[in-house]
């Protein structure tokens, strides 16, 4: 059986890793290539790179950084941010990405999911969604890095994404992102129960116990993604994976 995955996420802006709280108050952390190499050596099962400003300002990904990372790091790399066309898939795949994450681009043009899946296979297409609760509890999907509310509801969008050919779904809860109070279990349960493709939980990890709770409570969730707790050294990937395995959760050590 496949192991559960621990995935550090590196949000990139102007060639630096950044991490904010609730998508605002962005601050710089450090060099992405060094950080990625460190995570890989520590046992990260996969790395995710997002160009967090690309969809808002129409910027293209920093392909040179991606190439540097891919030439040194031999675990799977997922790249997102500014992916709007099949040509964008070509660009990042040629720079060493293994999977490509679509978010705003798929909300604008849902057919992009199917076109890319047809060309590269379902497993290459990751549907990433930023989700925030409406006051009435409805899970609303946001585009443009969490800036713009769409008409879409998260569970329906996840189902549609799967039907169109997405191979994996990243669910980022804007409500819990950067707060370090734990993953959004309610939202993740609703979405992971609705699809058969792998679901990656994102937003809210603050300590090792949050990952244990995630995988114990929601066995259908395949991976936990986090950024700041790893970037600032609050949780080491090695300790995290050892403790998860000691709790009976299958891990690659």
């Amino acid at each position: 059986m496949t192991t559960k995955r621990i995935i550090p996420c590196l949000d990139i802006r102007d060639s630096k890793v950044v991490k904010g709280t609730n998508f605002e108050g962005i601050r710089e952390v450090c060099d992405p290539v060094e950080l990625a190499a460190m995570y890989s050596d520590a046992g990260a099962d996969e790395l995710v790179f997002y160009d967090i400003t690309a969809s808002f300002e129409g910027r293209k990904l920093f392909t040179d950084i991606l190439k540097q990372v891919a030439s040194r790091i031999f675990v799977p790399l997922t790249v997102g941010g500014g992916i709007n066309t099949v040509e964008d898939f070509d660009r990042v795949l040629n720079a060493g990405a293994d999977k490509v994450s679509v978010n705003s681009g798929a909300l604008r043009d849902p057919e992009l999911i199917g076109l890319a899946a047809k060309k590269y296979g379902d497993q290459c297409v990751v549907l990433s969604m930023d989700v925030r609760r409406d006051p009435d509890g409805r899970f609303a999907v946001y585009s443009k890095g969490g800036r713009e509310r769409t008409f879409r509801e998260a569970v329906e969008w996840a189902r549609e994404g799967q039907e169109r050919g997405a191979g994996e779904i990243v669910v980022n809860s804007i409500d819990t992102d950067g707060v370090k109070g734990g993953f959004d279990l309610e939202m993740l349960r609703a979405i992971s129960d609705a699809v058969t493709i792998p679901v990656i939980a994102s937003g809210g990890a603050g300590c090792i116990e949050h990952f244990t709770t995630l995988f114990k409570t929601l066995p259908r969730v395949d991976a936990g993604l986090a950024a700041s707790i790893f970037h600032f050294g609050e949780v080491s990937i090695q300790d995290l994976k050892k403790q998860l395995r000691a709790s009976g959760i299958e891990m690659r050590l």
């Binding site: 496949t2 192991t3 675990v75 795949l93 293994d98 590269y120 058969t196 690659r252």
Partner: protein, 202 residues
């Protein structure tokens, strides 16, 4: 020198980088003269079978690849590159492969005993079905990285390693010096690099 076959399918960058990291000389090429001069060949692949097969056919390299493999030059197919070594694939229709290894590439979903998520994506433990020099630097139970929705079956005679995912997935095949890995050695961390090292010494 290792020739990495370039037929317009992604993921070559990582593969070339991982070989470079091991200090191995590798060239991404579609040039028949370079392939003939190479000590060994890697056939990579990602994506859908029919599209990749059409692209490989368009290079005109298939007869050369078959001749080189049959002459004993070490060949390693990776992921879809491994699947193309087989007789046929059932991905979106029935498509003929290179026929270097007997068996069929079929959807995982149809053979699962219990419903599991497909693609089979992530790290899974590798179980050796027989000793092989390709595994000289790794051990039973080491984890490798898989991403696939189709798997090779009816190929027990040439299977050298498997992983369990609701069905016994063919992880690696070997027939003489023709090898294939369903997993991605260039994405499997140190374990994957050790497999590529061993291939370079065959």
């Amino acid at each position: 020198m290792i020739a990495i076959i370039n037929y317009g399918v992604g993921n070559l960058f990582s593969l070339k980088s991982s070989l470079a990291c091991l200090g191995l000389d590798a060239t991404v090429t579609a040039d028949p003269l370079v392939i003939e001069a190479a000590d060994r060949i890697i056939l990579p692949g990602v994506g859908a079978f029919a599209d990749a097969k059409a692209k490989l056919e368009a290079t005109g390299l298939i007869p050369l690849l078959k001749a080189e493999a049959e002459s004993g030059k070490p060949l390693l197919g990776i992921c879809l590159g491994m699947q193309m070594l087989f007789d046929r694939s059932l991905e979106y229709g029935i498509h003929e492969g290179l026929g270097l290894i007997h068996g069929t590439v079929a959807p995982i979903t149809a053979d699962l005993e219990t419903p599991l998520k497909v693609p089979h994506m992530g790290w899974n433990a590798l179980h050796f079905t027989r000793p092989d020099p390709l595994f000289r630097y790794i051990k039973e139970g080491d984890h490798v990285y898989y991403v696939h929705s189709y798997y090779a079956k009816d190929c027990a005679a040439d299977t050298i390693a498997t992983s369990e995912y609701g069905v016994t997935v063919t992880g690696a095949v070997g027939k003489g010096k023709i090898y294939g890995t369903q997993f991605h050695p260039e994405k499997s961390g140190k374990v994957g690099l050790a497999i590529l090292s061993a291939f370079a010494e065959l």
